[in-house]
Symmetry: C2
Amino acid sequence: MRLTPADELARRVSALQKLLQKKNIDGALIMQSADLFYFAGTAQRAHLYVPALGKPLLLVKRSFARATQESALEDIMSLDNVKEMPRILNNYGFKDIKILGLELDVLPAAQYLRYQKLFAPAQIVDISGLIRTVRMVKSAYELDLLRAAASLNHTLFSQVQDFLQEGITELELAGQLEAVFRRAGHQGFVRMRGFNQEIFYGHIMSGTNLAIQSSIDSPTGGPGVNVSFPQGAGYKRIARDEPVLVDYVGVYDGYMADQSRIFCLGRLSDKLVQAYETAVEIQETIKKMAVPGASCADLYQRAVDMAAASGYGENFMGYPEPVPFIGHGVGIELNEWPVLAAGFKMPLEEGMVIALEPKFIFPEGAVGIENTFVVGKKGLETLTVFDEQIIYLGQK
Amino acid sequence: MRLTPADELARRVSALQKLLQKKNIDGALIMQSADLFYFAGTAQRAHLYVPALGKPLLLVKRSFARATQESALEDIMSLDNVKEMPRILNNYGFKDIKILGLELDVLPAAQYLRYQKLFAPAQIVDISGLIRTVRMVKSAYELDLLRAAASLNHTLFSQVQDFLQEGITELELAGQLEAVFRRAGHQGFVRMRGFNQEIFYGHIMSGTNLAIQSSIDSPTGGPGVNVSFPQGAGYKRIARDEPVLVDYVGVYDGYMADQSRIFCLGRLSDKLVQAYETAVEIQETIKKMAVPGASCADLYQRAVDMAAASGYGENFMGYPEPVPFIGHGVGIELNEWPVLAAGFKMPLEEGMVIALEPKFIFPEGAVGIENTFVVGKKGLETLTVFDEQIIYLGQK
């Protein structure tokens, strides 16, 4: 299995340490699987202590054997009882922790209250913003993994034609494509950050099911197969002359590529074709504008303006309730930073990776395009290379 | 789609209210998807306020349209801005909330701190134990759904013979079986409660891969396909004369059945066969002992004693590090209460649903059995009916 190299971990830890120093935080105690995978190279159950200065220490609960095989960090210890942690950190030279950072955006309150007591009188602060800031800019090593994820998607999108036929249910199509993903090495689980952020591969819907909204922050929702998990593919049979959205997330060695294409058995209406072309125009415009230094809020506004000028403004990014963004960072979670949204003032940097997804939703269906890009010197470079037309099948 | 009936929701809400009254808690504010699905009949993004006395109020963020279609509760309102909540609750007659219960086992700390401020000077207390207590005992309605989930598993286990062949990788087998699940109506996403509790359908491993431990609280771990998600099926090719574990979770209309069987192409060693038979004997003994009133800790101890007497005690429930339980509640999450563990003193009640999974792990493989049962008057009744022998394939 591919292991994160020591110098890559060192670069990541050092980037976090700079932010800890700037905020006068003595150290960060990292516990979430995705963050552990990122900073320690292992997703085994553990605590990673990253001091503002000095070498990080990984304290592993389970499995210690695997963590030592997987992590290139130098200092790894077994820790069975969390209560021992303050003493161990102290013995290790991390004395007098006054301000301790935790991932308060994901750490449950009950655990937060226990750590607060355990590390008293230290002040506990939220370092999730610092972590997301570090993770936002991808290294050359990470870009290789993102290209591997994009290649997984290429395999998937190339095989849609083998399964998509009139009368097949969305769910059946989803199941077949998920088997393609798995055979190609997909890890299955797609990580989203935060409370109640649940997703399963992505969304495959057709026609009117594309207009069904759900709780998820996505331009499409979908019925799902039941009320318990109300998103994604449903039991609707796919018909001719309606859009079929395949919006799936390839995950390879932990890194993900988010991509959508519109397929159709037959022909789409002129209206949907026009809206699709507008989506592609928006993509092309944003690709050029999204140079290092550009503001996410400006990109968002330009897309909204272009959608309005096309006459389909009220169908842009969700109908009747749009989501307030046109794209989002991706990496080892599906909802990373930056967010291409009005409220996101941070400028783009080279190496950020973004899924841009201009989509138009109508009562009879939805169209649009989504690719995962890296911010390069001259704008967005496409990672998820695949035919960008509406993909018509079954013409014979 | 199947909607939870009003009288079923009323029963659940009333059971929670009795516990709130007993603990002198003024009301519970429920936000987690699984708990919303259980108490409100919808998993849309919402807050459900359950007063200790009176009718519950569902405040929906997204999608309001779907929540009103899905939930049989009488009082449903749209709420866009969480800050409005104290005012709305007050206007609605829920005045002077002094003690407010939140799901502190899953609610992230950052959100907890915001609610604490929002509802000040109310005291915030953890009601996750009360919720898990209510959810622990299943109604006749829920048992029907659990039987439907078991039937999904029956479909899956019946088709293993169609895909399992020498040389197929675990991952390929997993992908094929997952497609069977999806075609049969599986929702895909398998819910586990708590921080870092990630699972994807379950575990399919063979031979030596069955001995690989992982972070998950499960007797088997598995390599997974990468370091990011280090559990479950890997790239190992399945060989003759080794055990193949299929431990998968069927989820139908939100309810799940957890089940394992051992398959084998060829023959297993006498040692593994003996260990398997011991696992079945443990299951049979626990089934009879697990009557209403029995102590979970006693059941656990009996299983451990039987394993020790068989001579394979140190291989029971994980090797080299066993997990400290032999079974766990299931319902709409995979790790519900009760837990058949030394520390779980609560007596069994009729209607509890438990996955019992006596397993033995050896360096060369693992064997054991798992079924989902309901606690009946005379002990455990099997929901996941299927051949309970080692299933030998490819004999011709």
